[in-house]
C-alpha cells in the first residue's frame, strides 16, 4: 500500500482527537463559564447534541409550537446517514471523556465484547419512556444529560465553592446520583473502552444503524488486510476483528485508532467496493457481518415498524398515566413555577431531559432540580426557587440554553410579558400593616409595577397588587422580609400566558408624595440650586 495512506491515518486520527478535545472543552465551559461568552458557547455546543436534538424533533412531531433548532438535529441525522457515525468521535462530550478515562485505564484496559441484545433493550427502554413523556427518566441513558448533570450538580458547585460564590444547597442524593452515573460510565471505559457507547447509549444504537447503511463510512478491505491484528489491539469499541477481517459498522465509534494503526491501508474511509467483480461479492456480506448480532435489512425494517407501533401506542396513552404526570394540583402546596418558555408544568415535565444546562446557566441560581414536584416524568426537571433569588427581568439565559425544546426561545420582550406565576398578597402579614414601619421591599424589586406602594390608612405607603401586569418573576416573594410565611408569595400557573402591559402614567407621582403633592408636576430641573 502507498505511503501516503499510512500518513493519512495518523493525521486523520490526530484531527479527530483535536476536534473531540475542543468539543469537550466547549461542552465543559458551557456549564461553567459565566457571562455572554458562556451563553454563546453553550448554545453553540448544546444545539449539536443528538439526544436533545431528537427530543426537539419529537416535540414538534407531537404538536409543539415554537420548537426551534430543528435544523441542527436534522443536519446531524442526515450527515450521519450519509457520512457515518462521526458524532461519537468528535461531538459527544461523554464519548471524549470516556476516551480520556480509558487512556488513564492504560494497560489494564482489555476491551470486552458486547453484551448481546443490551443496546436493543436500552434503545427500546429509552424510546418507550420518551413516548410516555418521561424524557427525564429516559435521559439517564443519554450521554449529554449524563455529562450535563455531572457538571451541573458535581463540578459547578465545587467550582463555585472555590470561587467563594454562594451555591444553593443540593440534595446529597442528587449530587451522589449524578456523580455515580458518571463514575460508572467512566469506570466501564477505564476497563473496557467505549463500552457504554456500544451497549447502553441510545444515540449510539441509532447512529450504529445509520452508519451500517451509510454510503461513505469506515470500512475494512478484506483483500488488503493481512490479519496482523493491530487494529483489534487499539480498538476501544470492540468493533474490529483483525484475525477474522471484520469490522462491525454498528459499533464503530470512529476513533480512527485502527485507521492510524493499519500498516496496509486495509482500514479506510470511503465508499464500499463496486457492485461488479468478485471482490465485492466476497467483501459485501462478510464485512457487514458484525462480531455480535448482525443487523440485516429485514431486521432493521421490522425493528422500525415494531418500534413505531409501540411508540405510537405509548404516545397516545401517555396523558392518562397519572404515575408520571406532574403533581401540580397538590392539596395546599403551591403549584411549582417552571421557567419562562416552558408553556406549562405538564409540557415541561414531558420535554425536559434534565441535563442541567439551564440550571448551570441561570445567573440567579434559582433553577433547582425538582425531585417529585413535577412528577416522575419531570424527575429533576428544574423549577424556580424564589427562596434563593428571583427570575431576572433582563435575562433569557435558561431558554436560550435549553437544547431539548422544553423551553421555547422567547425574545426578551416577550419573555418580559410572559406570566409564569401569580403573586398573592396577604396584607395582615405585611410589615407596614403589622409593625407600622416603612418597608416596600416587594415594590422596589417588582420589575413591572404590579406591586406598588400607595399611602394608605396607616399613613405609610402600603403595597397594592395588580395581578394583570404581574409576570410571576418572584422578585416580591424573594424580597419580602416576613419569615417564614411571606406576606407576598408567588405560585405557578396551570398554563403560562401573556401579562398585560403596564399602563402609562403608573409612576407619575412618587409613592411617598404627601396628599397635597399628588398629581402635581414633580420638581423640574433648573439652573438654581434647590437648597
Amino acid at each position: 500500500m502507498s505511503r501516503s495512506r499510512n500518513f493519512a491515518g495518523p493525521i486523520a486520527r490526530a484531527a479527530r482527537i483535536a476536534a473531540a478535545a475542543l468539543a469537550l472543552a466547549g461542552a465543559t465551559l458551557s456549564f461553567l463559564l459565566g457571562g455572554e461568552l458562556g451563553d454563546t458557547l453553550s448554545r453553540a455546543i448544546s444545539s449539536w447534541q443528538l439526544f436533545p436534538a431528537a427530543a426537539r424533533i419529537a416535540a414538534l412531531a407531537l404538536g409543539g409550537a415554537g420548537i426551534s433548532g430543528l435544523a441542527t438535529g436534522a443536519t446531524l441525522l442526515a450527515a450521519s446517514a450519509l457520512f457515518g457515525r462521526w458524532y461519537c468521535a468528535a461531538l459527544c462530550p461523554l464519548g471524549s471523556l470516556q476516551d480520556a478515562a480509558s487512556l488513564l485505564g492504560g494497560a489494564r484496559r482489555r476491551a470486552r465484547g458486547p453484551l448481546r441484545g443490551l443496546r436493543a433493550a436500552s434503545l427500546a427502554a429509552v424510546l418507550g419512556l420518551a413516548a410516555l413523556g418521561a424524557l427525564g427518566l429516559a435521559s439517564w441513558l443519554d450521554p449529554w444529560s449524563l455529562f450535563g448533570r455531572f457538571l451541573a450538580y458535581d463540578i459547578q458547585p465545587l467550582l463555585r465553592l472555590a470561587l467563594r460564590a454562594d451555591t444553593p444547597a443540593l440534595r446529597p442524593e442528587l449530587v451522589a446520583a449524578a456523580g455515580l452515573a458518571m463514575s460508572l460510565v467512566l469506570l466501564a471505559s477505564a476497563l473496557s473502552g467505549r463500552w457504554f457507547c456500544g451497549n447502553l447509549c441510545p444515540v449510539g444504537a441509532v447512529l450504529g444503524i445509520l452508519n451500517r447503511f451509510a454510503p461513505l463510512r469506515l470500512r475494512l478491505d478484506e483483500g488488503a488486510c493481512v490479519s496482523c491484528g493491530r487494529c483489534s489491539s487499539v480498538c476501544r469499541a470492540t468493533c474490529v476483528d483483525g484475525a477474522r477481517k471484520r469490522l462491525d459498522p454498528t459499533r464503530c465509534v470512529y476513533c480512527l485508532a485502527c485507521l492510524a494503526a493499519c500498516p496496509t491501508g486495509a482500514v479506510r474511509y470511503g465508499r464500499g467496493p463496486r457492485a461488479s467483480g468478485h471482490a465485492a461479492a466476497r467483501a459485501g456480506p462478510r464485512e457487514a457481518g458484525p462480531l455480535a448480532a448482525p443487523l440485516s435489512r429485514r431486521g432493521f425494517v421490522s425493528l422500525l415498524a415494531g418500534g413505531s407501533l409501540a411508540l405510537g401506542a405509548a404516545a397516545l396513552s401517555r396523558r392518562s398515566l397519572s404515575l408520571l404526570a406532574p403533581r401540580i394540583e397538590g392539596g395546599g402546596v403551591p403549584r411549582p413555577v417552571t421557567p419562562p418558555g416552558s408553556g406549562s408544568a405538564a409540557l415541561f415535565a414531558e420535554r425536559c431531559t434534565a441535563c442541567g444546562l439551564c440550571v448551570s446557566r441561570c445567573p440567579a441560581k434559582i433553577l433547582r432540580p425538582s425531585l417529585g414536584r413535577l412528577g416522575l416524568a419531570g424527575f429533576l426537571a428544574p423549577r424556580l426557587d424564589y427562596s434563593v433569588s428571583y427570575c431576572q427581568y433582563d435575562c433569557v439565559a435558561c431558554l436560550e440554553a435549553c437544547p431539548s425544546g422544553a423551553l421555547e426561545r422567547l425574545a426578551l420582550g416577550r419573555k418580559r410579558l410572559t406570566k409564569i406565576g401569580d403573586a398573592t398578597l396577604i396584607r395582615e402579614r405585611c410589615v407596614v400593616i403589622k409593625n407600622r414601619t416603612k418597608c416596600g421591599a416587594c415594590a422596589e424589586h417588582c420589575p413591572t409595577g404590579a406591586v406598588r406602594m400607595i399611602v394608605g390608612e396607616s399613613r405609610l405607603p402600603e403595597p397594592v397588587f395588580d395581578g394583570a401586569i404581574c409576570i410571576g418573576c418572584g422578585a416580591c416573594h424573594h424580597a419580602c422580609p416576613v419569615e417564614p410565611d411571606k406576606a407576598i408569595s408567588v405560585a405557578g400557573l396551570a398554563e403560562h400566558r401573556l401579562a398585560e402591559k403596564p399602563e402609562a402614567g403608573l409612576f407619575d407621582t412618587p409613592a411617598h408624595a404627601p396628599p397635597g403633592l399628588k398629581g402635581e408636576e414633580p420638581t423640574e430641573a433648573s439652573e438654581a440650586f434647590p437648597f
Binding site: 454562594d166 409595577g449 439652573e527
Partner: protein, 310 residues
C-alpha cells in the same frame, strides 16, 4: 495677619491660576462663583456643583474640598461604594453614573492609593448589575479592582456600636479592610424609604437587607451608618429619578439637575438631597434618627454650603 504684600501676592497668584485654568478649560464663568475654599481658612461643609460633565463636577468639587489628598493619602487602600443595585443601563439613573465612579478611581490612584476597590451588594443579580450599570467596565478601565458583593462569604458579622435596632450585622470585608471609604450614591425616589441617597446607599455594605425591613427600615438605615462613617460621600444628582424609584420604569420621571454634592456629613447630604427631590428633610424619618445618633446635621442653614456652577 495678612500683610499688604501677602495680599498682593495672593491676588496675583490667584489671578494667574485663574488665567491658566480659563485657557485650559476654555472661556467660562470662572469667577462667577462663591469664593473658593482655597482662599478661606476652612473647607465648606457641603460642596454642590452644577453643570459640566460628571467628571468636571467631581474635579471641581474635590478642588473645593482641598483635593482628594485631604481624604486619601499615599499608600492607602480605598473602597468605593457606588449604588449598583439594579441591572439597568446608565440612562435609567438607577445606579451611580459609571463616568463619575471611573473619575473618582482615577483621583484616588493619582493621590497614590495603593489599591482602589469598588463593590456593591446589588439587589438584582450582582454580575448582571455590574455589567448593565457599566460601572464594572469603567472602574476596571480606570484602574480599580471590582469586587463581587453577591456572595455571603464576603460578609463578616460585626457589632454596630450605638445602634438602636441593628445591633449587629454582616458587613462586607472591604469596609473592614480599607483605609478610606468613599460613599458614592445616586439620588433618586424610593418606593420603600421615600428617598435613597447617602445613608440609604450604605444598606449595600451589609449582607442581610431583609433584616432592615423586619426591624424597622428608618431606624436601621440610621443605625447602619454608625458602623463606619464614610471618609467622604459624593452624591450623583446628575439625572435625578423623581418617581418609580429605586428600580426605574419606562414611566419614571426625571429632573435633569446636572449636579454633584459632596460632604463628609452624611446627614447634611441627605437633607440637601431631600430638597433636590422637592421634599423636606423632615419627610424622611431616618434623617432625624441619624441626627439623633450624632451622625450629622440636617439643619442646612447652619452649614457652610459652597454652591458652584461650571
Amino acid at each position: 495677619m495678612l500683610t499688604r504684600r501677602d495680599f498682593l501676592t495672593r491676588c496675583a497668584s490667584f489671578g494667574a491660576a485663574a488665567l491658566l485654568l480659563s485657557i485650559k478649560r476654555g472661556a467660562g464663568p470662572l469667577l462667577a462663583q462663591v469664593p473658593s475654599a482655597a482662599q478661606g481658612s476652612k473647607a465648606p461643609d457641603i460642596v454642590a456643583v452644577k453643570g459640566g460633565s460628571q467628571a468636571a463636577r467631581l474635579d471641581r468639587a474635590l478642588r473645593e474640598l482641598g483635593g482628594i489628598g485631604a481624604f486619601v493619602r499615599k499608600g492607602q487602600t480605598v473602597v468605593i461604594k457606588p449604588n449598583i443595585g439594579w441591572s439597568q443601563g446608565p440612562e435609567v439613573a438607577a445606579n451611580t453614573d459609571p463616568e463619575l465612579v471611573a473619575r473618582l478611581v482615577e483621583h484616588c490612584l493619582e493621590a497614590g492609593a495603593s489599591k482602589v476597590w469598588v463593590f456593591d451588594h446589588s439587589c438584582d443579580n450582582g454580575p448582571s448589575s455590574y455589567r448593565a450599570s457599566k460601572i464594572e467596565g469603567y472602574a476596571k478601565a480606570a484602574g480599580a479592582v471590582v469586587v463581587p458583593g453577591e456572595s455571603s462569604s464576603y460578609y463578616q458579622e460585626v457589632p454596630v456600636p450605638g445602634a438602636r435596632s441593628l445591633k449587629k450585622t454582616r458587613v462586607h470585608e472591604l469596609i473592614l479592610a480599607a483605609d478610606a471609604f468613599i460613599n458614592v450614591p445616586v439620588l433618586k425616589d424610593h418606593s420603600g424609604a421615600g428617598m435613597t441617597c447617602a445613608m440609604k446607599n450604605l444598606m449595600g455594605i451589609v449582607w442581610d437587607r431583609s433584616e432592615f425591613h423586619r426591624l424597622g427600615l428608618d431606624q436601621c438605615i440610621a443605625d447602619a451608618c454608625l458602623f463606619r462613617k464614610p471618609t467622604l460621600s459624593i452624591v450623583d444628582a446628575g439625572r435625578v429619578m423623581l418617581s418609580g424609584g429605586p428600580r426605574g420604569y419606562p414611566g419614571s420621571r426625571y429632573g435633569e439637575q446636572r449636579m454633584l454634592i459632596a460632604s463628609t456629613d452624611i446627614v447634611a447630604l441627605d437633607a440637601v438631597s431631600a430638597r433636590t427631590l422637592g421634599r423636606a428633610p423632615s419627610d424622611f424619618e431616618y434623617i432625624a434618627k441619624a441626627e439623633e445618633r450624632g451622625l450629622g446635621t440636617s439643619d442646612t442653614s447652619r452649614l457652610a454650603i459652597s454652591r458652584l456652577t461650571i
